[in-house]
């Protein structure tokens, strides 16, 4: 968990490196093809288009990073399903534009709700 949790402080998580074997190259290729395949599905599902080839390639890179992020979220949150969503081509800071909650210092004048009965 600590390895995975380090993702949350922006380091490359020091997951145990896979033992290099002669089919390592194939794994990498599979992963690459897989990511490209997922990206194609993602673009058609969410109607994504990019103005230039550079933008497209950049977004593919962001998408791959988010695939890994989804994998880590799945590890940390196994009772939900994580994967490709409409936000999978956004960097974390771009994703922040879909939020918008300011920090709250509870206003002193905010009325506290009276305690309600919770039995019967």
């Amino acid at each position: 968990l600590s390895a995975v949790a380090s993702d949350f402080i922006g380091e490359e998580d020091p997951l145990i490196r896979q033992v290099v074997s002669d089919d390592a190259a194939d794994d990498t290729d599979d992963h690459l093809l897989n990511a490209e395949h997922h990206f194609t599905l993602f673009k058609s599902k969410f109607g994504k288009t990019y103005a230039t080839q550079e933008e497209h390639d950049y977004r593919l890179g962001v998408f791959k990073t988010n695939l890994r992020r989804a994998k880590r979220h799945q590890l940390l949150d196994p009772t939900a399903e994580h994967g490709v969503t409409k936000f999978s081509d956004l960097t974390p800071s771009e994703f922040g534009q879909y939020l918008g909650l300011k920090k709250l210092k509870l206003p002193a004048d905010a009325q506290k709700a009276p305690i309600l009965p919770t039995n019967d």
Binding site: L1, A5, F8, F46, N66, R69, A70, H73, Q74, L76, D77, P78, T79, A80, E81, H82, G83, V84, T85, K86, F87, S88, L90, P92, E94, F95, G96, Q97, Y98, L99, G100, L101, K102, K103, L104, K105, L106, P107, A108, D109, A110, Q111, K112, A113, P114, I115, L116, P117, T118, N119
Partner: protein, 233 residues
């Protein structure tokens, strides 16, 4: 308290909306809670205008200099309730439609108020009290840490590790005793949360997160609102 409760079953929740790439979640959380309160007060379900809050609400938090509601740059539900109380209420969505930007001027028309706030309260970090206020006062405006929501697809989210710093505002509409989680073969009691990222995100726009330990700060910023019994003009 009922073991399961969902305001969608009682007609108090409007359709899932989409804030787009504008940091206006606070206005959707505010409008969603007031829609429910207005329904409880009048029996009519009206979709209310978030754009009025984005354009017109610049109410500030008295405790924090400079912490004012500011359109796509963020806001707070409690200060938005304060604005709505002072302004007299919110217009309908159809009369003041959402544009997803904050470059427009305020076009609030007092003669077209559809729902008004009579008062609002803040609820402590007590899950029974949150559930009781939900059942009694309708959908609640809540804050949450959205870090796991970017990749969420479905199921009951219950991360082992999740920050409690809040960065997203959503609407708590119900709760369930247990949602079967195939991966862990465990039942997880959960909150049902209405999000504002469109129906093509999550479970048709909704998010379920486990109850019990303030996961992702979900219990730490909860407010309820009561509406005046006025029919929309």
């Amino acid at each position: 308290l009922p073991t399961d409760f969902d305001w969608r079953d009682h007609g108090a929740v409007t359709e899932v909306k989409d804030q787009g790439s504008c940091g206006s979640c606070w206005s959707f959380s505010t409008a969603g809670a007031l829609e429910g309160a207005h329904y409880l007060a009048t029996g009519e379900l009206v979709s209310l205008s978030e754009q009025q809050l984005v354009d017109c609400d610049h109410e500030c938090d008295p405790q924090e200099y400079g912490a004012c509601d500011s359109g796509c740059n963020g806001g707070l539900m409690t200060t938005a309730f304060e604005y709505t109380l002072k302004a007299g209420g919110l217009q309908r969505e159809v009369d003041y439609p959402y544009t997803g930007t904050d470059r427009g001027t305020c076009k609030f028309d007092k003669t077209k108020i559809a729902a008004s706030v009579s008062n609002f309260s803040v609820i402590g970090v007590d899950e029974d009290q949150i559930a009781a206020n939900l059942v009694k006062h309708g959908p609640l405006a809540i804050g949450i840490n959205a870090i796991f929501m970017q990749t969420y697809m479905k199921g009951v989210s219950c991360p082992y590790i999740c920050g409690k710093n809040l960065d997203h505002g959503v609407v708590l509409v119900g709760y369930g005793a247990a949602g079967y989680a195939p991966i862990r073969f465990k039942d997880k009691p959960f909150w049902i949360i209405k999000n504002s990222w469109g129906a093509n995100w999550g479970e048709e726009g909704y998010y379920r997160i486990c109850r019990g330990r303030n996961v992702c700060g979900v219990d730490s910023m909860v407010s309820s609102v009561a509406a005046l019994n006025i029919k929309s003009q």
